[in-house]
């Protein structure tokens, strides 16, 4: 089995063989297809992301956005095609790839009966993070949950759970962040905290692929926008000189 010893982790930062790691972070999807039973959900997706890039994934419900994310984090196997993250194939080297990706989904993937700190402790152990205690409290501060660290997740509000879920996804300092509508349930303060964390992540060379339904948010947060319809990429463009109404028009047209 290929081991990834060359990716040494110290105080949470990941470096590859001495060179600054950021140039090494890349996510490449080639001809990815997925059908549930016999119903095609993804029809040959091609996509590449490299160090520091942020991509917004837009599309109607059932266009295949969530399925694409689930495949990249290794929760679902693709029916055809391939994808590799930092040179590792997501199916053959699934376990190493899971160290490199952080996932925030619709469900928070947390345990209600455990407290916020216990949850982070548990997932820290699962991701074999070295200094879990500091890492956990550091992240809890960053998402503004240091006061409710000892409360059970069941009693937390929807916004707090979403922030804790983001903290969980960042615990093992992944190279790539995959976020399924990260803003759900967040107030303005929550959105600012999330933006700060995402900025810090990309500064460190990490990539972000996130889905959203708010077009202005997509424009504001991402370097390029991709639109999915019935499992195919139907629009792809950098956001540098892209106006909101053009995005809205193509979105109407396409979905």
């Amino acid at each position: 089995m290929r081991n990834f010893a060359h990716l040494s982790t110290n105080n949470g930062e990941v470096y590859a063989g001495g060179r600054p790691a950021s140039s090494m972070f890349f996510l490449e999807v080639k001809g990815l297809k997925k059908s549930f039973g016999l119903k095609p959900v993804l029809r040959s997706i091609d996509l590449t992301l490299s160090g520091g890039e942020r991509v917004a994934l837009l599309g109607a419900n059932g266009a295949g956005k969530t399925t694409l994310l689930r495949i990249l984090v290794g929760l679902t196997k693709p029916s055809a095609g391939s994808a590799c993250i930092d040179g590792l194939d997501i199916v053959r080297d699934a376990r190493q790839v899971r160290h490199l990706v952080g996932f925030v989904a619709h469900q928070p993937y947390l345990y209600d009966e455990l407290t916020a700190l216990e949850n982070l402790y548990f997932f820290g152990k699962m991701y074999t993070v070295k200094n879990i205690q500091e890492r956990a409290s550091l992240l809890l501060d960053k998402v503004g949950l240091e006061k409710s660290a000892r409360e059970r997740v069941a009693v937390l509000s929807r916004g707090q759970v979403q922030r804790l879920s983001l903290a969980r996804a960042l615990l093992h300092s992944p190279h790539h962040l995959l976020l399924d509508e990260p803003d759900t349930g967040l107030d303005q303060e929550g959105r600012d905290l999330v933006e700060a964390l995402l900025a810090e992540h990309t500064a460190r060379g990490g990539t972000i692929l996130f889905t959203t339904h708010q077009l202005e948010r997509a424009l504001q947060l991402s370097d390029s926008i991709i639109m999915l319809n019935k499992g195919r990429i139907v629009f792809q463009q950098k956001t540098v000189n892209l106006e909101l109404d053009k995005v809205q028009r193509t979105y109407q047209e396409v979905t």
């Binding site: 549930f36 039973g37 016999l38």
Partner: protein
């Protein structure tokens, strides 16, 4: 089993959209199997009722033996095929192995049910009781439960890869468990020993011949039924796929 396998080779086209009219070519394999089974059935009926001498001790009802034993063996064989197909599916992830597994499970269930019914009727005539806790019969009964469990599991989980994988795991666990069950029931039965069912011992040649003919016939029947259900599932998958591609 070999017949069913040979057939999968001839049908080796990939499972993309099947060209219309592809499945109207004359089903030679099915017809051949059907006629062979029919001939076999006729000869075995003739031999069982007329040719073979009535057993001295047990008399006429002993002739149920010639049906009961082959059916029970085929029921066991079907579970073996199910397990092999399941291992094939888990290893190759190819849907066709799953069709083979489901077909063998279904036919196996029918055969084991018939084996239990004929077994108890035969038991009724020889020992006067409908059921004896004999090691072989009890293991067959438990195998029947495992079959029913498999069919229920597959129907509850529907036609999804998850259901195929779960069924495969159950089949593998089951096939390893059968000999252990037989052994434990055998030890348990020593508590109240019962007459052994159909002592294989030294059987007169006519009996062995009739038994073999009957066994060949039921193997052919098994292969024929397997082939039908295999084709059935292939068409279902094809129809489902076409439906999916329409919207």
């Amino acid at each position: 089993m070999a017949l069913a396998n040979r057939d999968t080779q001839t049908e080796r086209q990939n499972s993309t959209i099947g060209t219309p009219g592809q499945n109207t070519r004359p089903p030679i394999a099915s017809l051949a199997l059907l006629t062979l089974t029919f001939i076999g059935m006729m000869t075995s009926i003739f031999m069982i009722f007329l040719y073979v001498p009535t057993d001295a001790i047990e008399g006429i009802p002993q002739r149920i033996f010639y049906f009961h034993v082959p059916i029970a063996w085929i029921g066991m064989l079907a579970f073996g095929v199910l397990a092999v197909a399941s291992i094939g599916y888990l290893w190759k992830k190819d849907e066709r192995w799953d069709w083979l597994a489901r077909a063998s499970a279904e036919v196996g269930t029918i055969f084991i049910t018939l084996a239990l019914i004929t077994g108890s009727i035969w038991g009724r005539t020889t020992w006067g009781t409908w059921w004896t806790w004999d090691a072989r019969l009890t293991t067959t009964l438990i195998l029947w439960f495992i079959y029913i469990g498999y069919m229920m599991l597959r129907s509850y989980m529907g036609r999804t890869p998850a259901s195929a994988r779960s069924g495969a795991v159950l089949a593998i666990i089951g096939v390893i468990d059968i000999p252990i069950i037989y052994e434990s029931v055998n030890w348990w039965r020593t508590l109240h020993p019962q007459a052994e069912v159909g002592t294989p011992g030294a059987l007169p040649p006519e009996v062995v011949l009739t038994l073999m003919i009957s066994l060949v016939t039921f193997t052919l029947l098994y292969s024929f039924l397997m082939l039908q259900i295999y084709q059935l599932q292939k068409m279902q998958a094809l129809a489902q796929q076409l439906h999916a591609n329409i919207e």
